[in-house]
Amino acid sequence: MASLNVLILVCLGYVVLLFGVAFAADRLAAAGRSTWLRSPLIYTLSLSIYCTAWTFYGAVGYAARSGLEFVTIYLGPTLVMIGWWWGLRKLVRIGRSQRVTSIADLISSRYGKSNTLAICVTILAVIGVTPYIALQLQSITLSFSIFAEADPGSHYYEGASVFWVAAGLAVFAILFGTRNLDANERHHGVVTAVALEAVVKLVALLAVGIFVVWGVAGGVGPTLDRIDASEIGQWQVDRGRWATITFLSAAAFVCLPRMFQVMVVENDDERHLRTAAWAFPLYLLLMSLFVVPIAVVGLDLLPKGANPDLFVLTVPLSQGQDGLAMLSFLGGFSSATSMVIVAAMALSTMVSNHIVIPIWLSSKGRGAVVSGDVRSVVLYARRVSIAVIMALGYFYYRLSGGGAALASIGLIAFAGIAQILPALVGGLFWRGATRIGALAGLTVGFVLWVYTLLLPGIGGEVMPQSVLDHGPFGWGWLRPQALFDIAGLDPMVHAVMWSLSLNMAAFCIASVLSFPRPLERLQGAQFVNVFEHSAGPRGWSGSAAQSEDLMIMSQRILGAREAQEFFRAQTVEQGGRGGLPEPTPVFLERLERELGGSVGAAAAHAMIGQIVGGSSVSVEDLLAVADESAQLLEYSSRLEAKSSELSQTALKLREANTKLTQISLQKDAFLSQVSHELRTPMTSIRAFSEILRDTEGLGLEEQVRYSTIIHDEALRLTRLLDDLLDLSVLESGQVNLNRARGDLGDVLERSISTALAGWSNPLIVKRHFSNERIVLYSDLDRLGQVFINLIANAQKYCDAPDPELTITVHDVWGQIMVDFVDNGSGIPSDAQSMIFEKFARVSAEKAGGAGLGLAICKEIMQRLGGDVSYLSGKEGAAFRVRLPKEERAAM
């Protein structure tokens, strides 16, 4: 019988060995002589932390209880390694190119570096992994207790041993796991120690298996006979459970933080996966080879009621093989410790990076980042996190009492961790996956997992039996193990089905419905198209043909002149000629920076990448980025439009103001003109009437003469008032036109006789009567008024010795024009433009008018829809009256 003391000594010795190996590996790595450390073999062996104490001890127990179902635990990872090798390669490539530190970091990074998401994944991982750590502690304690039972002389305190084991593991993880800050500086020491442990557990299990088959059962044949005879051979395969558990273990293999740690973060070379793809399944095969024989033999050999989870230990012990049992114990110990160490490291990275550090930073404010103590804070946070995680595992173990079967806790944890799968796989392969989608999926999956699996699985105190049987508040359709009344399923299958399917549904629906932010979009492209991305994360190389494209693009962003100047300067610097430099990496980097100043670094990088090579970002992404810039541009152009609108309004206002000022000036001028025209006759009238009144002895002749003046001036006043009223009525547009049918010739006839009446020497009017036979439909009186005015003007102003007026009627395509041309000297060209203005007088001579006649003519013709204008180029004064087309009545 091996004494407990010896066991503890061996155990301590083994731990010291692990420390030594880890320390040596770290030293070697630091010295740069670590080539063998980076072999694919070490990588493959480190993956074996998948096989924890749960698989080491539990697989046999699982087989003893449920037959071949334990195979599923190995089947899942095997399928992933062989069938999804390319997916893992993608994961590793992304992890390396994005410098990912954990699975939480990967998810957060993929979905636009969302820390919310990272926190969710971290919490999920902590909740999922803590029971698992407790499980490892339990297995170590159980194995200790086996030896303690076998050694009656020893004093073994279970609680104390668990505490020391947990503390020791924490120290190990802290020492070798938090040595370096950068996750990309791999933990060679830990990985090497883990690889060593992988060898130990394989050797141990194989040794026990060989002993059982050849030492106890007596060879392969008898062993097979025993298996056939035992209950294991008769167990039915539950297809639902098989599929579910295979899937779960596959998902866990990818999603478990510790697996991610060794598979992605600690990966030195992508090509190692190629080896691991066949070597790791082989390892799993060897690990599972003797599970059934050990279980069968254990069931045969040991008394009923013996814990099958510990057959690996108890079978050798029962046969007196203390050495073998010791080896077996070391195998189990290795399984447990390697898992706990790596899991604690992975979790601590997540906890410190996504929870502790953000809180610390926000509590410290901005200044903290500048000061140099960040590094030590991060390391400190990781160490504390490791201790806390270990403590959580320890307390979970103490509180749960360690009674439940190992396998069931492991599966529950698997199902929890598997909730990350949709967000992870969706993020790798679906560009449309968004942060909101990932959050929704994770939340839904997590809640359902807790409700349907975790709470019912933990035990009666947390979830009362009544809820399990009848649902919360008696709602039967919400029974945790029969959601929506789908009963009769295995609880595990039920929980996984609901949580993962609703998780995926929420993920997809929310992703489709939500709109990714630009960073998410860019990261999504980087992730999904990681293989198309150029090998180096930075550093461009291009061909000459691309220079032109770069030029075109730069012109669009920088503006033609700036871009040309930049390109020319770069060409000169390169010693070349012309405007296009060679697209050397230096040039491209400068261009990127130049563009970055305009469109932002990410967009600039994407744009250059689009042209030069690495098409990691598609045109769609560019368009999306451009959309956002376009929104900004639109906004600014709207502002521009507003401001130009404003300046236009201001211009209009100025114009209006100028117009108003002009009108006001015109009005003033008009008023003073009117005043002048009214006051002048009034002055004569007043002066002469006073003379008539006050002058005694005024002669009769003078009396007559003065009263005639008064009379004439009074008439002049009346005419002026008439004209003013006429004009104001015409200008206000309130004039009523009395249209009637009439003959143009008749209107002219009447106008001539009226205009010339009273003149002692009337001018001679020349007419072409044949042309005047046109029937009009118009306001004939108003038209006549215009004619009278023009004829009277000719009479008054024609300076020819024998004044003549020629009236001609033209009919051009139905357009009737009446010209009045006299034989005088005409109106000087500089005055022609103003004769239609009010109070315009060409000559200084008084002709009795106030200068309103032509203004009135113009107003009248405009009211009638025609026009009156001065015809320059004729010998004498020449006016043309244009009648509107409609004025000619249908015959």
Binding site: S672, R679, P681, M682, T683, I685, R686, E690, I691, A844
Partner: protein, 126 residues
Amino acid sequence: MNRRVLLIEDEPNITEAIRFLLTRDGWQVVTHADGSDAVEVISNENPDLVILDLMLPGKSGMEILRELRELEGMEKLPVLMLTARGQSRDREMAEKAGVSRFMTKPFSNAEVLTAVRDLHAQATQL
């Protein structure tokens, strides 16, 4: 004493009325109806007093007044300005230009006579 007044006015009826009034008051009345050569006419005639219409063909009364005041010996010549325009700005401008008296048409005959007598009295006292 032969008092001479130069009347520069383009309205023949008003010219006739003022000539009638002032002749009866013992003035020798010289008339002129055009603005363009009015300044020369004034300096040639060298009257005791000028009655100047504001709105004249050729040159406005305001310009004539300004040019007149520039001439030597014409600074103190009494000038009575008449206007038919009803704008107060004209009065201000005329006073700036050195008008002796400003009067708006229509006026009463008595007003004109009084103004002419006053202006002449002031001029001769000085």
